[in-house]
């Protein structure tokens, strides 16, 4: 491999773990608990009589 390619590869992988960690961490942080809408079936049942 050429020196420039090796250096570019090294630079990419020095930065990559941090970038991946931020992406996965931020995605986990915004991940909402699945909402369970208990009100909807009750309202529908009521409306339906």
């Amino acid at each position: 491999m050429k020196r420039a390619h090796r250096t570019a590869h090294w630079l990419i992988w020095v930065l990559m773990p941090g970038i991946l960690l931020v992406i996965i961490g931020a995605s986990l942080a915004i991940r909402a608990e699945p909402a369970v809408n208990h009100a909807l079936p009750a309202a529908l049942i009521e409306e339906a009589g």
């Binding site: 020196r3 390619h5 250096t7 090294w10 990419i12 996965i24 931020a26 986990l28």
Partner: protein, 352 residues
């Protein structure tokens, strides 16, 4: 090779490799479908199309991890070098599975409206300014475009047409593409999953690849930084001639320039550029066969005495002047023009 464009030559090894690759991929996909279908939480059920969609994505993403791991594994251990030979087949297979996933997702989620499906993917969800509800499909589309360019240029015709440095730079786009795919999964499928398995697997894959690439590139970077010290009159000391294994090379790293491979072939010691013309592979990690240095990546050959590929091929690489003094090998770090004859030094009697 250099005698003009030729169709890929299929051989039994390549056919066998592809049968194993595609058989394994279909097996992984089938296992994913069976396991997911049999482990669905009570009260939930995937539509068969959704199952196939995820199975295609899982297979493509798993293959991408394997493809990206081969490079650093081959740098860390010689036993993985044979996997480099047909790595491009793996890359093209990643693209095919990714394309099938994208096509099915487009048809399933965007194919039933009067809107152009591509416009629908990019414009239906305008939340590009926030992470929550981000249109993750656009990230997958970006990665697929990169994989398409790589698959389309994976043939040696493009390697020769673009030249190895540009071709390699182009194919390094696979790393940003991997980042896009991690974001695509994290902001897409992972958002609807409550199991720890999803983020756990994503993190484990990213950690494994990061560790492998950092280890391999860290070792190379350290070698480049330390360099081989000049000794007598600006020539580099490659050590005792008899310390170079028969048919092998030692690699010198002159400060600020490309590495030099110093080969031993019987009593002959010759120095060539360590950079193969094909894919810039590490020639010095190969071996000497019939008087030629053979690149460990794809078997390209160069004569030790002049750095030229044997006929009918016409590639040539830089050569270096070599001398032996008191059993020690010295190499002039000034590269001679590619293909310039440079008489190999001979190991003297008494210094076997």
């Amino acid at each position: 090779m250099s005698v003009g464009f030729q169709a890929v030559q299929w051989n039994r090894f390549k056919i066998g490799y592809d049968i194993v690759l595609w058989g394994g991929s279909v097996a992984v996909m089938s296992a994913f479908i069976v396991l997911t279908a049999s482990n669905q939480p009570a009260g939930e059920s995937f539509h068969p199309v959704q199952l196939v969609l995820r199975a295609l994505a899982f297979t493509a993403f798993t293959l991408l991890h394997i493809t990206l791991a081969i490079g650093p594994l081959a740098r860390l251990s010689d036993r993985f070098k044979p996997l480099l030979y047909n790595r491009r087949h793996l890359g093209v297979t990643v693209f095919v599975f990714g394309l099938l996933h994208a096509a099915l997702a487009t048809l399933w989620y965007h194919g039933f409206s009067p809107e152009n499906p591509l416009v629908s993917i990019l414009a239906t969800n305008p939340n590009y300014d926030r992470l929550y509800g981000f249109p993750f499909e656009a990230l997958g589309l970006g990665a697929l475009l990169v994989l398409f360019v790589m698959a389309a240029t994976s043939h040696d015709f493009w390697l020769e047409f673009l030249g190895a440095p540009i071709w390699k730079a182009l194919h390094m786009l696979v790393y940003p593409a991997y980042g896009l795919l991690v974001a695509h999964v994290a902001l897409g499928a992972m958002q609807g999953e409550t199991s720890i398995l999803f983020p756990g697997a994503l993190l484990a894959g990213a950690a494994l690849l990061s560790l492998l690439h950092l280890s391999a590139s860290g070792i190379e970077w350290a070698k480049d930084r330390s360099g081989t010290q000049e000794s007598v009159e600006g020539w580099l000391n490659a050590g005792p001639a008899n310390a170079i294994p028969e048919g092998r090379a030692v690699i010198l790293t002159p400060a600020g320039s490309e590495r030099i491979a110093v080969f031993r072939d019987g009593a002959r010691i010759a120095a060539l550029s360590n950079v193969c013309k094909h894919q810039n592979g590490p020639l010095g990690e190969g071996r000497v066969v019939n008087g030629c240095a053979v690149c460990p990546w794809h078997g390209w050959e160069y004569r030790l005495e002049d750095g030229r590929a044997p006929a009918p091929f016409t590639e040539k690489i830089a050569t270096y002047r070599v001398k032996i003094r008191s059993g020690e090998v010295f190499v002039d770090p000034q590269a001679l023009p590619p293909g310039t004859p440079s008489e190999p030094a001979l190991i003297e009697e008494g210094h076997p």
